[in-house]
């Protein structure tokens, strides 16, 4: 009989876990997340934002299993008949729970701040943190996944199953359906990071009605004639405004927190310090690719503390000083939220001009799409007339962008900015004025 343990985390309070999850959490690969900050050096802007990927991962697991349990209780018969599965016999709940818990173990130091330093594959594509997560789960955690006694006696899951689920390489209709709860427009990952980051930053922008979304989540018929499973995750009409709230929270959080110009400046300094730390460790300019046990060991050793150590040991380095003394580069020029090709070209030439003038200028892009239409659209279930419901039939639905004029108006951000060292600000301004930009 498994014992129930509790972990208390901000936002959700007590989260209950069993022996198997506790053993995974206690594994060194997962414990490393305590040393990976969720928002890198955002504390220079929002002093409370020193939280880690550790608590976020537990939060995602908590929300994903709540969503699963609601859907299984409310729509179980429809799901079973459409996907040809038996939810009681299936290990899908456990798979979703563990994939949600482990989806971020592959983050490099500084979370997203290190993604530009991930190596490129031979086909030109960059590795992403999901690739590292999959690699670590399937290769470095077999002792607490494949070989764990609870798994062997009850679930028979492989680390590879969880890795495929995280990376979107699972070839099962049922698993593809549940994966929407981890990676979709209505997924547990973004629900947790918005609430958690807002809580730690002390801002209200990330608030939305999580309880209402969990309460109204449902399944609908996939309207496309070529739909593979016939089912989609959606919210009932009563949850429409909560779904709008989630999208708007995302928009505000990106504009006010994640893309804030001061935070972006510290991301730049932190990335340069990480680059210096990698060079000091003899790793070159890129994170280890993790293709061998030794390479994975070196990747696991890299965490935020490596960057802190580098800063302390290289105090005179300009980027270390920025982090140690709160002296960041300054925003000198920016386009509107939606930059046209002409705007982007202007930023490029302006930055070149500044560098020709001897100024160490650098560019940043704050690109994000708030909401995608078509395949990944959040669908709002149509209300059924009273007495017409069938336990084995999913509702029809409409896309949120058709129902909601607010959502239909959201435009993607493609803002570009130029930063320069504080000491060069005046000179840079003069140069920019001379160009007439």
């Amino acid at each position: 009989m498994s014992t129930v343990h509790s972990i208390r985390i901000p936002v959700h309070g007590f989260v209950e876990i069993d022996d198997w999850v506790r053993d995974i959490i206690n594994h060194p690969v997962f414990q490393r997340l305590r040393r990976i900050r969720q928002l890198a050096f955002s504390e220079h802007l929002y002093p409370g934002s020193t939280h880690s990927r550790f608590e976020h991962s537990i939060g995602v697991m908590y929300i994903a299993t709540r969503l699963y349990d609601t859907l299984a209780a409310r729509n179980g018969p429809v799901i079973e008949s459409s996907l040809g599965c038996d939810l009681k016999a299936s290990n899908s709940r456990r798979l979703l729970q563990l994939a949600s818990l482990l989806h971020d173990v592959g983050h490099g130091p500084l979370s997203h701040g290190s993604e530009t330093l991930m190596p490129t594959r031979p086909d030109g594509r960059c590795l992403r943190h999901e690739d590292y997560s999959a690699l670590l789960v399937s290769e470095e955690m077999t002792d607490v996944i494949d070989d764990h006694p609870v798994n062997r006696s009850q679930h028979n899951l492989r680390g590879r199953d969880i890795a495929d689920f995280i990376r979107g390489r699972t070839l099962s209709a049922e698993r593809l359906f549940w994966r929407e709860l981890l990676s979709g427009q209505l997924d547990a990952d973004r629900m947790d990071y918005l609430l958690r980051d807002a809580w730690h930053c002390g801002v209200s922008y990330g608030s939305f009605d999580l309880g209402r979304i969990v309460d109204t989540v449902t399944v609908v018929d996939d309207p496309r004639p070529d739909a593979p499973t016939g089912l989609r995750v959606a919210v009932s009409s009563g949850g429409r405004h909560a779904a709008e709230g989630l999208l708007l929270a995302r928009y505000f959080m990106f504009q006010q927190v994640y893309f804030h110009h001061v935070r972006k400046a510290y991301d730049h300094h932190a990335e340069e310090c990480l680059r210096g730390a990698l060079r000091s460790a003899g790793l070159g300019d890129r994170l280890p690719a993790g293709e061998t046990p030794e390479s994975r060991r070196r990747f696991i050793e890299l965490d935020d503390w490596v960057v802190f150590d580098y800063c302390r040991s290289n105090r005179m380095n300009v980027d270390s000083r920025a982090l140690l003394e709160h002296k960041h580069d300054r925003l000198i020029y920016e386009t509107g939220e939606v930059a046209s090709p002409g705007d982007i070209a202007r930023v490029d030439s302006l930055c070149d001009e500044l560098m020709r003038g001897g100024i160490k200028a650098w560019k940043d892009d704050a690109a994000k799409d708030w909401y995608s239409t078509r395949d990944r659209e959040i669908r709002i279930a149509d209300d059924r007339p009273r007495g017409s419901s069938s336990a084995l039939q999913a509702s029809t639905s409409r896309p949120l962008s058709i129902v909601s004029s607010v959502v239909a108006k959201l435009q993607p951000s493609s803002q570009r900015r130029i930063f320069v060292p504080d000491a060069d600000r005046k000179l840079a301004q003069e140069l920019i004025e001379r160009t007439g930009a």
Partner: protein
């Protein structure tokens, strides 16, 4: 070249070439799958990273790029409740003419070959083809019947005949193992 403008220019090229083919509209699913084949078939490194969803290989960045192109009028994206989305070159498509020319120089004839092979396919056919190629890359079974069985499980709405026809075609193109 700026990465966003490079990808945007590629989308404009596809919309332009497809409109010249005169064989039906270009929808969002078709654009998504044509970009998948641009990387897998034409070997044009666009930087997309496709994952498998219930609706086939998909990268949300494609939709983000498409939204960007529509917002700055490089593309015109129209919606008809009956027929769905249509993507056409927009009034400001020439704003990325430099990037389009550079792409043509870098990959001469590649877009024409991509469109001549897949440009007349329906979105349904493209989705099946992309899923077959993706599924084989995930789990190359001992023979082609395993692939057919796997795809039938995740795409039950396609007939055996449809799957077999596309397997033969993709095998002859070198996109699946012989």
């Amino acid at each position: 070249m700026d990465d966003l403008l490079r990808r945007a220019a590629f989308m404009v090229e596809i919309a332009h070439a497809k409109s010249q083919l005169g064989c039906g509209r270009l929808g969002k699913t078709a654009m998504q799958k044509l970009l998948f084949f641009a990387q897998e078939f034409s070997r044009i490194p666009l930087g997309y990273c496709f994952q498998l969803y219930t609706y086939g290989p998909y990268d949300p960045r494609v939709m983000a790029d498409l939204d960007y192109c529509a917002s700055v009028e490089l593309l015109r994206v129209e919606f008809d409740p009956n027929s769905g989305y249509s993507i056409l070159p927009g009034p400001k498509a020439d704003a990325v003419i430099t990037q389009r020319t550079q792409l043509q120089r870098e990959f001469p004839g590649a877009i024409d070959r991509l469109l001549s092979e897949f440009g007349r396919d329906s979105a349904r056919e493209l989705e099946l083809c992309a899923t077959l190629v993706f599924a084989e890359s995930v789990d190359p079974g001992p023979d082609i019947s395993d692939l057919s069985r796997q795809v039938r499980v995740i795409k039950p709405k396609y007939s055996d005949h449809e799957i077999d026809v596309q397997i033969s075609r993709l095998t002859s193109l070198g996109l699946l193992r012989a």
